[in-house]
């Protein structure tokens, strides 16, 4: 403390003695604290004040005092300023002095580079930082996507770091809609899945977005679905260390998550299952369900999960599976009113190209193909010869009657 400060401290003690008579003790402090800021604001309160480089160094005193740091004195952060006049170059403020935990989290995260990602890049202008439950805060849940989107909504950044431009995907997703249209504070925003200070790459096994951690991350909100998922073959495979099995984001995508009943989702998701289940996808594509379903505009035809279940996909041998023999009548009956035991013998993945698997279908298809080829080839030849011959005799006898019906 310098001399002037000491004097001020002494005078404060004197003031306190006077203030014993005053009923409200705290009121005595306010003018003093204010006076400390007021000293700085005498100059920095001028909204037009700039440094020699032309950057504004003005502070809105009123706004600052309503911010989360409003009760602090300027020198609490600008600790190298001891007296007036102070040197033109002052040390940058180090948030870590107070926020050591957060700073160490950030330094271990993907945003570790402090010059690229200063605290203010997310928390906003240093003098006007508000608590995260204050709608004025940049990290208020409804403001988070826009804050992250400052960088993650820019195609330049995407190119520079090889990252996808996720902001528009998120904003059009079911989470983005809930947040921006409904203002739903519980809707997942960026940090609900990625964390805040300690954001790690999805390739890092510690990250909540690392493949095997995704179910747990989504399960923070979608607890019932997580429990179902863990019962299914995919959940068991992932838990058993098989990272080829799908987690939530493989089917729903990470950012562009759609309402699953929406036609766009029903259109896009069957090929996703087909990425792994290639043979099942190819036989599905031969069926009525696929031929009709892939035209769009009508989304009711069965997609994979309409029959197999979505989150707790189980083998047909499992009595709890909707495609278990005992459950087929009720599963098919959901769409096909009146489905009976004979109806459910329909094979939704029949392969008419496979003689051993479905001989009846194989021979029917073979017969139909031979019929088609036989009829067409015979009549093609017949018609071509006929056209040539007719034209020939027409041209030959043109002189006779004008050629119309020669």
């Amino acid at each position: 403390m310098n001399c002037a400060a000491r004097k001020r401290a002494r005078s404060r003690i004197r003031n306190r003695i006077f203030a014993v008579c005053v009923a409200v003790f705290a009121i005595a402090f306010a003018p003093i604290a204010l006076r400390a800021q007021a000293d700085c604001l005498a100059c920095h309160g001028d909204a037009s004040m700039t440094d020699s480089a032309g950057h504004s160094i003005a502070v809105d005193g009123q706004k600052f005092s309503s911010s989360i740091h409003g009760s602090l004195q300027c020198t609490s952060c600008h600790a190298d300023i001891k007296d007036y006049p102070h040197p033109e170059k002052i040390a940058p403020v180090d948030c870590k002095t107070c926020h050591a935990d957060q700073a160490s989290s950030v330094s271990g995260s993907v945003h570790a580079n402090a010059s690229d990602h200063p605290c203010t890049s997310c928390h906003g202008v240093a003098h006007y930082i508000f608590p995260k439950d204050d709608p004025r805060s940049n990290v208020y849940p409804l403001n988070v996507p826009k804050t992250c989107g400052t960088c993650h909504g820019s195609p330049d950044l995407a190119k520079k770091h090889g990252l996808p431009n996720v902001y528009p995907l998120y904003m059009d997703s079911i989470h983005g809609f809930a947040l921006s249209k409904e203002g739903l504070l519980v809707a997942a925003n960026c940090q609900s899945c990625h964390g805040s200070h300690n954001i790690l790459s999805h390739t890092n096994p510690q990250s909540p977005t690392y493949k095997s951690n995704v179910p747990k991350t989504c399960g923070t909100c979608h607890a019932k679905i997580e429990a179902d998922y863990e019962q299914g073959v995919h959940g068991k495979a992932v838990a058993g260390g098989n990272l080829n099995a799908p987690v939530c984001s493989d089917c729903h995508t990470a950012h562009a998550i759609l309402q699953p009943t929406e036609s766009a989702f029903r259109m896009q998701s069957t090929p996703i299952c087909g990425n792994c289940h290639k043979d099942k996808f190819s036989t599905y594509r031969d069926t009525f369900h696929s031929q009709l379903g892939s035209l769009g505009g009508y989304v009711e035809t069965a997609r994979c999960w309409d029959c197999h279940g979505a989150h707790d996909v189980r083998p047909a041998s499992d009595p709890a599976s909707p495609i278990n023999q005992a459950n087929l009548v009720s599963t098919c009956g959901r769409c096909h009113a009146g489905a009976n035991a004979s109806f459910v013998k329909y094979q939704p993945h029949a392969n008419a190209r496979d003689r051993k698997l479905s001989p009846a279908l194989y021979y029917i298809r073979l017969f139909m193909n031979l019929l088609l080829a036989g009829v067409l080839i015979f009549f093609m030849i017949h018609t071509i010869l006929w056209v040539i011959r007719s034209r020939y005799s027409q041209v030959k006898s043109r002189a006779g009657n004008g050629g119309k019906n020669a």
Binding site: T301, G338, S342, F343
Partner: protein
């Protein structure tokens, strides 16, 4: 429109201007019902059959998605089924109840006979310049084939189509695998019908040099004496020898009917050829 019908506005070449009736109004309407519903079935059916091709989704989106496609397909199917049933009833009444001659056998019957086999080989010999051109009766062998192809197709495609439409009901009588089979049968037979009509029937009946660009007789019902004599020499001769020429005399088709028929025919042929090209691109893609 009697004043229009008597007006001799046609410019068709006719030696003596005489026209003979070859198809009744009901037969012409039957053909119109058949080809409009068939075009509708083909257009919507192909979209479903080749639903992963680039044009199918665009077409489906254009008419309101798959729901609209299937609705139109079923609508056309009902129209075609009704037309088929009317025809069967007609044949039954004329052939069995009224004992009309020439329905099940004879020179005016659709049933194939030994002459058709001889005509087929004779015609092909003529193609290759190995013999004279056969003389055709009322229905030539390729027309009988068209007829029976449609008849057989109607039963096969119709049955398999209704089996899919009312699958849970048909499952009461059919084994489970038949529900898989009906789609294969329906789509293959449908494809055959489409390819046959658009690639073979169009050329045999309308686009071949003798009829190019289209044979108007199924639209107007009448044929000029010259064309009749040229295309159906045996039927013509039989008509003259039986003394029925006078009773079969028709009026020259009025200009509006000719133009209307040409427009309808051109549209049908255009739609058909477009679908044919799309089918082939999808099939060989």
């Amino acid at each position: 429109m009697p004043e229009l019908e008597t007006a001799n506005t046609t410019t068709e070449s006719a030696v003596n201007g005489r026209y003979f009736v070859r198809f009744t109004r009901q037969q012409r309407y039957m053909h119109a019902a058949l080809f409009t519903s068939f075009l509708g079935l083909a257009a919507t059916g192909l979209v479903m059959r080749f639903s992963d091709s680039f044009w199918a989704r665009k077409f489906a989106a254009g008419v309101g998605g798959f729901g609209a496609i299937l609705f139109l397909h079923k609508l056309c199917a009902i129209v075609l089924t009704i037309a088929f049933l009317i025809h069967v009833k007609e044949v039954f009444q004329r052939g069995l109840l009224r004992r009309e001659k020439g329905i099940f056998w004879g020179s005016t019957s659709m049933v194939a006979n030994w002459k058709d086999v001889k005509d087929l080989f004779g015609h092909m010999r003529w193609f290759l310049g190995l013999g004279p051109k056969p003389q055709f009766e009322r229905y030539a062998y390729w027309e009988k084939f068209d007829y029976w192809a449609v008849f057989w197709g109607m039963i096969i495609i119709g049955f398999s189509g209704y089996a899919m439409w009312f699958a849970p009901f048909f499952a009461h009588f059919l084994p489970g695998w038949a529900l898989n089979a009906v789609l294969i049968i329906h789509s293959e037979e449908g494809l055959l019908a489409i390819l046959f009509i658009f690639a073979i029937h169009f050329v045999n009946t309308h686009l071949r040099p003798d009829s190019f660009p289209m044979d108007m007789v199924i639209f107007t019902g009448v044929e000029s004496e010259e064309e009749f004599k040229h295309k159906r020499p045996l039927e013509y001769k039989r008509m003259i020898s039986e003394g029925k020429a006078e009773s079969r005399l028709g009026v020259a088709p009025p200009l509006w009917l000719l133009n209307f028929s040409k427009a309808v025919g051109a549209i049908a042929i255009f739609i058909g050829l477009t679908l044919l090209v799309l089918t082939l691109t999808a099939y060989f893609h």
